[in-house]
């Protein structure tokens, strides 16, 4: 069943929508969640929460590409769950490494509170990603959007792990420079 028909099921409030979503995108969402949480039960809970969020979001939303719509939800839900576990000092996987890497681009210990600051940061990072050469952008997003391991990124692109690490390091240096110029660091 294609995306348009699945979205139509949500709009008709048919429970078949969840079954069709699970059949088509269950594995995709699970992979995103597991990358972040490194735990089967937590990843499954995140995927189930994604289905609930999707049910509550459509209507009014009518996404043309369901995969990224659902993927964004799963990513957000899983990161929130990971943060709760971090507070409880639990968990492992890729997230501690990803956070250490991104900390190189951050400046202070103080989190941004203002909504407009967060929105502006989102716009700056979006423009930064858009300006990257294509392969560098794909590697950057595989690491920091999908939380793929360096090994699996290397396998996907046919690169050695050291090449992936070098590429990511150079991109983080560029990102830090952009954030500094924009007044974030």
């Amino acid at each position: 069943m294609d995306d348009r028909r699945i979205v139509a099921l949500y709009w008709e409030r048919s429970e078949q929508a969840i079954a069709e979503t699970a059949a088509r995108y269950g594995n995709y969402c699970y992979a995103i969640a597991y990358n972040i949480l490194d735990n089967h039960e937590d990843a499954e809970e995140s995927v189930n929460d994604t289905y609930i969020d999707a049910w509550n979001s459509m209507p009014p939303h009518r996404p043309s590409v369901l995969s990224t719509f659902l993927g964004k939800m799963t990513r957000r839900i899983s990161i929130d769950r990971w943060r709760k576990r971090r507070a409880e000092k639990r968990g492992g996987g890729e997230m501690p490494l990803v956070m250490d890497e991104l900390q190189e681009c951050a400046a202070e210990d103080k989190s941004m509170e203002q909504a407009y600051e967060k929105q502006r940061l989102g716009e700056v990072i979006n423009a930064f990603a858009k300006a990257l050469p294509e392969t560098e952008r794909r590697v950057f997003l595989c690491r920091y959007w999908y939380m793929d391991s360096v090994a699996s990124i290397g396998k996907q692109f046919g690169f050695s792990e050291s090449k992936v690490k070098s590429m990511l390091y150079r991109t983080r240096v560029k990102l830090r420079a952009v954030l500094s110029k924009e007044g974030f660091a």
């Binding site: 990513r75 990161i79 940061l121 990603a129 294509e134 794909r138 997003l141």
Partner: protein, 197 residues
């Protein structure tokens, strides 16, 4: 600003780039089609289904029903193309990385112009002054195709595109569609007609 803020902000990167990050790229032996051969092949594929078709770069064609003599796979080409769209009453364009297939290009054009899924690409056809003839040679029929010099692109879209004339502007919208659909293939078109069905 902390690492958590950057992590959250990365979640807002354009969905197009997020999707492309995971696209599988196949690198098996590909057969590249030149612009002239593309037009010839499109017409032949429509008119003469049993004809032996030669692709640039291959060592020969296979007759229908034969076992393949070499491992050649035609893969859709990807490239950076210009997508034209309306912005603040003017024509703008953005470079996008896309499969060089009319359906994919059309989908990106819709996305940039804020047009919904209900508007469909029904047909995208190249017409021209190419000529095909069957010649008898030593008792066997041989098909020869002469690629012409003039190409016309005919694009048919669903009629419900009219719903978007009011907010965007009919002339601007249709011109952006023409420029997008004629610009990505490398062919130089003498004209582009848009039909509604």
């Amino acid at each position: 600003m902390r690492a958590d803020d950057i992590l959250d902000a990365i979640g807002h990167v354009d969905e197009v780039y997020v999707r492309r990050a995971k696209e599988k790229r196949r690198y098996r032996k590909a057969v590249w089609i030149t612009a002239g051969s593309l037009a010839a092949c499109l017409l032949l594929a429509v008119l003469l289904p049993g004809v032996v078709t030669h692709f640039a770069g291959s060592s020969g064609g296979d007759l229908p029903g034969d076992e393949p003599t070499h491992d050649v796979e035609i893969v859709p080409a990807y490239d950076d193309i210009w997508i034209y769209y309306a912005q603040d009453g003017q024509m703008a364009r953005a470079e996008e990385y896309c499969t060089l297939q009319p359906s994919s290009v059309f989908a990106l054009w819709k996305e940039k112009n804020g047009i919904g899924d209900e508007v469909e690409l029904i047909e995208c056809r190249i017409d021209g002054d190419s000529a095909t003839a069957t010649v008898e040679d030593n008792g066997e029929d041989t098909v020869s195709h002469e690629v012409g010099n003039h190409f016309i692109l005919n694009v048919t879209v669903s009629k419900n595109i009219e719903a978007y004339y009011q907010p965007i502007g009919r002339e601007l919208l249709l011109e952006s569609l023409k420029q997008t659909m004629t610009g990505y293939s490398g062919l130089v078109f003498d004209a582009c007609n848009i039909y509604f069905a």
